[in-house]
Symmetry: C2
Subunit: 224 residues, 2 copies
């Protein structure tokens, strides 16, 4: 049941850009597991290019924090210690808190309306227990918060942090009852934003992520 849904990565830009997107997608979606080795020759033949663009892609992914590199050693999908993982979750909670707080202050009426509509629409996914669909909605919902802060740099940081965290929070909605809880927490955030209560929105978003952090376990890695 682990079929990869739309594995066609966007085909624009240079070869390197395509590879970065493709590999990042594989890491984020779990096709590549933390600890897995990424040797240049295999990737080169897999993408039917030479090692040169592969190396550049790996370097960029390294700078993004998605793969680890050390000299004269193969690149590996980043695998983090438990304390570092905890630091990422905490940072994520802070960032989401900032986004929600700023969203409460700055979202346009259109953005607020769209957020609320999107949120209300997800209720049926909760009732039907559609985990995958709800996960997609959840991503969309949070992205709205990130955009609503109207701060490019914060958006960049929170987006990148989310990507780096993705490999370790895949089973988020597999826990029984988590879907309904998630909806409730979203509800708190949305209501606070609708009444422009920045502090409440920030706190609600912070707790929301902190709870997800608790719900997420550390998963098996590919390394040894």
């Amino acid at each position: 049941m682990k079929q990869a849904r739309r594995r066609e990565v966007i085909r624009t830009g240079t070869t390197v850009e395509q590879m970065v997107r493709a590999i990042a997608d594989m890491i984020v979606t779990g096709t590549l597991l933390p600890g897995e080795k990424l040797d240049e020759i295999s990737l080169a033949s897999r993408f039917e290019v030479s090692r040169t663009p592969v190396r550049e892609a790996l370097r960029e992914l390294g700078a993004m924090g998605l793969v680890g590199r050390e000299p004269n050693r193969s690149a590996v999908v980043t695998n983090v210690t438990e304390t570092h993982l905890h630091s990422m979750f905490e940072a994520m909670a802070e960032l989401e808190g900032i986004c929600a707080r700023l969203s409460a202050e700055r979202m346009t009426v259109d953005e607020r309306r769209a957020l609320e509509l999107d949120h209300r629409g997800s209720m049926r996914l909760v009732h039907s227990g559609a985990e995958e669909e709800y996960a997609a909605h959840n991503t969309e919902f949070h992205t709205r918060l990130y955009r609503g802060a109207h701060n490019d740099h914060v958006f960049e940081m929170v987006t990148q942090t989310r990507a780096r965290l993705a490999p370790f929070r895949r089973a988020q909605f597999r826990l029984p009852g988590r879907l309904a809880k998630s909806y409730e927490e979203h509800d708190q955030i949305v209501m606070a934003i609708m009444r422009a209560d920045a502090v409440a929105a920030g706190q609600a978003a912070y707790s929301h992520v902190a709870i997800v952090s608790d719900a997420s376990a550390v998963f098996a890695t590919a390394g040894e």
Copy 2:
């Protein structure tokens, strides 16, 4: 009087790592100005290497946000719009606020003592009006806050943001009276941390950066 102080970049690691450090340093310290072109051939001959490691270094710097790249076009030192610059300053204030707040909660006694000592020691720099020295102390001071938060990911984000902001806040302490004000603001932060007042520390650090943001102007770029 614009002498480059210790231009010897650490000589360890691969060629690419050395170049990344060297170029990043030049951008952060202002040897390379925003908008300046970085063509691969010049850099290659300048560092006496081939274009291959140069390209990898530029790609990494691009991922870090220090240089901008688009296909078939030379890399350029990142130049930002005013609104984007503002977003970076705001993000920086938020991050510093987080660091100070967490520092107030988590710093060890040794860290607190070192912070206070370092801070008190900078008073003589204020009195003698030693701008350059105070700038160095200032960097050290803030780094202590970043470390004091005991959160690797936050540390990474705040460090990277500071580097990206550096090209645009160079004249920070040239404004008359800014040194003394900076010291006072640091004092507020230190006192809050010493008495473990997380909220006060966070707010003091936020305002401190916000003020610096106001004090910093947008500088001339090398582009056209």
